[in-house]
Symmetry: C2
Subunit: 499 residues, 2 copies
């Protein structure tokens, strides 16, 4: 057995970049290093201007937005069509060239950046909407379409995308599906496993799997598209998506509440589910530290919506989506009366128009960015029973306080889905903090039957922690699927599946 | 190339039973025929009284409820625990014993009956509810639990199962998940791919896959449970299910309408989606022939809810589920006023209480049974764009009229999900009708981009018709999954995957 020092000694050569405290897996020697002939082939397929090789072009594609993971890829290709993706993958599979599919590169677990010198397959040019049927609400669009653009397109046609999240201005819908993104509408509209009706996928060997059904019900054999939802591009590259889009709600209400305890946040949620019923579309919370970071970072843009209120430990944002303004208003008003009478809230504000609704949402949605601008962030995205959700924040805060009193440990997230975002923000990443927090957070989560990744996925951050949430048999099934669909392991290597 | 006569001559030896016009695939010689040692092992695992061998015990297990498919199994086992299922499958896999998992045996494509002498693995004794959390609405129950019992259990706890269908008194929730059943609540609560949170599955080699998560969000690697939803027991045997159950609606309205044309049925649906919005929970239709068969067969129980109305070509049943009786009533009343004023309906009735609501639903739900009692039925379950949905009924009616003027061709189904049930009812099954209808129905469906199985599945009826709805690459992926998870092919052979 190796001593701890030996292991650390060995892995220091494998940091993501100078100064990084995070370890990257060794490069697999079976993968080919790109040469001139490969570049020539890529240029033939996608055109010379879409094979990127300059350092400046590659810089942002090699690194994730948190500055936590940085690969060393020398080449990125930007195909425009499914056929081009097919040709590229067939070639890469034949020549054992490792490939990292990349959407908007907004992920939080290093899934969309190269680990070493993988070819970057950027989906950014595949961004056309292929069709939309306003009767059924079924949209078919290229994988590289930006979520915000798709949602705007749908809004103009009285529909919405069933998913919404803070990164919508950059993330691609193909990336959303590949990572099974959750976001803020999940409570109401549910999982992409339910909303995605079909996919077009290029398999590792270049074959095009056309499973782009637009039918709401289709029980013709195995639902193979499900395999690619949430598999982070490791089983195939999604090139187009068919999604069932809900009608645009005629009535939207957003409410922001100041709450004195986490227990009360829970009580309000239970009451909201009962009293608002089918119109409740989101139930989010943030703690005071998260809120203060937003106010600090966005001084110029954000004003405290509850100015009369001294800061409270927690804030709740909930939203309703409905078809009848009078009925919804009546439900929301009765509910707020109940909250005041029962002493569950300190203060609250209801949006009076769309612009106010957006301002309130901006507070919640800019939490991750605000924390990121405050320092270096360790992000954990866990599902745990709501009753225990905030305990882990308090626990980590206490553990770190002794060693790093300047650590800012905050909690916020999709309370309605039992999904906590635990963030630790410090001036710099340090091994000391990392060792205090990991694998402690995973052990803690596992001990309460939670999931170590609620919606962010596994990426390169957590394959070897998967066992905290998945049984050995489940991991074996995963490995079997990977072998079956990508026998040469060229697709997004080092990620998702334990090494 | 063989002549048609040669093929027919050969296959007459392979009818399901004397007089049947349906062809069964040849028995695979690699499967072991059961002997005394096998029986002894089964008896050791499940106890002597749960190894059934008498003809009377096996009769109903060997045949489907339509009397269309009949196997020749000599043994059925009834395990009580997951561990027993595990021991049985490990043994069967080792000895190449083919197995047909059987739930409530209410399927319509022969998926739950043996084709030849497969061991019947009856799930009927695994019927315990394991847990229910009234805060999250998450139910965990054995696969053999009867849907009706589960729904009753949930109703007492102010929740409902996200799925409902006519066979609920017999079908098992494990069978529902294995076949990805759709049913009448699909429009509102969506697919089981979205509602099932976790599964416990015994794999072909006897290994127990514990993926019985109760978390709403869990993105830890591939969502392996999805593989088993809708794969008809051919990749593993589901032993327990974790499901997200919606709250029991405080307000339910059921409306039954007489409509003079199919076009108006569509117009009413579009208006219902707009005006009833989030409370619309079901939108069903039946044609007059379906309605008359219900009235005939259930003379003693069913009265025409619209007695003042001479028969109309179509009837629509829609339902609302909501949290506020006043708001829902107001929405439904305004909608009905609109329907009357715009001349879209001939007549209509709104349920005044739960018992009336049940009576109206009984009409729709007893259509399949009523047709079945009227004669022998060819059933087709297809997804096609709503605008073309009834054309196939008229088309088949015309084609058959010349040859079999006594054929009763009817259409009904889940219009809100674009899901038609096309039924042809005759005094006896005949090759002549079969040849007129198949593969014509599949070709027709394929030509309009539909699915040849919306919710009934593939079973033994349609594996070789799968290509009408699935691409060759998709079928290859299916075969790869089957090889990967059931290398000896012992699980539900001859079904789901093309031979």
């Amino acid at each position: 057995m190796k001593s701890k020092n030996e292991i650390i000694g060995k892995t220091t050569q494998n940091r993501w970049y100078a100064g990084s405290v995070f370890i990257k897996p060794n490069r697999k020697s079976e993968f080919k290093q790109l040469d001139g002939a490969d570049i020539k082939f890529f240029e033939q397929v996608v055109g010379k201007s879409h094979v990127l090789q300059s350092e400046s072009d590659l810089e942002s594609l090699n690194e994730d937005w948190m500055g936590k993971y940085r690969g060393n890829s020398k080449v990125a290709v930007r195909p425009k069509t499914t056929e081009e993706v097919s040709k590229l993958l067939a070639y890469c599979n034949e020549h054992r060239i490792a490939v990292v599919p990349q959407g908007g590169n907004t992920g939080l677990v290093g899934g969309s950046v190269p680990v070493h010198d993988e070819l970057i397959l950027s989906m950014s040019r595949m961004n056309e909407i292929r069709s939309f049927d306003s009767v059924s609400g079924v949209l078919v669009a290229d994988a590289g379409s930006i979520l915000h653009n798709v949602d705007e397109y749908l809004m103009e046609r009285d529909h919405i995308f069933p998913l919404d999240l803070g990164a919508k201005g950059s993330c691609h819908i193909g990336g959303n599906v590949s990572t099974n993104a959750g976001g803020i509408r999940f409570l109401r509209y549910g999982s992409l496993h339910g909303n995605v009706l079909g996919l077009e996928v290029v398999l590792a060997n270049g074959e095009i799997l056309n499973a782009l059904s637009t039918l709401r019900k289709d029980n013709t054999g195995y639902d193979v598209k499900q395999l690619f939802i949430g598999s982070e591009g490791s089983l195939g590259v999604i090139t187009a998506v068919s999604v069932l889009c809900p009608p645009r709600p005629k009535s939207v209400n957003v409410v922001f509440l100041a709450v004195s305890s986490f227990e009360k946040c829970q009580q309000i949620m239970t009451a909201a589910k009962q009293q608002l019923g089918e119109i409740l579309s989101a139930y989010e919370f943030l703690d005071d530290l998260s809120f203060q970071m937003v106010l600090d970072v966005h001084k110029d843009r954000v004003r405290n919506p509850l100015p009369s209120q001294a800061s409270t430990p927690f804030y709740v944002l909930f939203e309703t989506h409905g078809s009848n303004q009078d009925h919804d208003k009546s439900k929301v008003d009765s509910f707020l009366e109940y909250l005041v009478e029962s002493g569950l809230i300190e203060d609250g504000v209801v949006s009076q128009d769309e612009s106010q609704a957006k301002s309130l949402w901006f507070i919640r949605e800019s939490v991750p960015e605000s924390i990121n601008k405050t320092g270096k962030v360790y992000k954990y995205d866990i599902s745990i029973p709501v009753a225990k959700m905030y305990d882990i924040v308090l626990d980590i805060r206490e553990r770190l306080a002794k060693v790093h009193p300047d650590a800012r440990v905050s909690g916020y997230g999709h309370m309605g889905d039992s999904n906590l975002h635990l963030n630790i923000c410090e001036p710099a990443y340090t091994s000391e903090t990392l060792n205090i927090v990991e694998p402690y957070v995973y052990e803690w989560t596992s001990s309460v039957g939670g999931s170590i990744s609620a919606e962010h996925g596994i990426g390169v951050m957590k394959p070897n922690h998967l066992h905290y949430s998945k049984s050995p048999v489940a991991i074996e099934v995963m490995k079997g699927l990977k072998r079956s669909l990508d026998p040469n392991g060229i697709l997004n290597p080092y990620k998702t599946v334990p090494l």
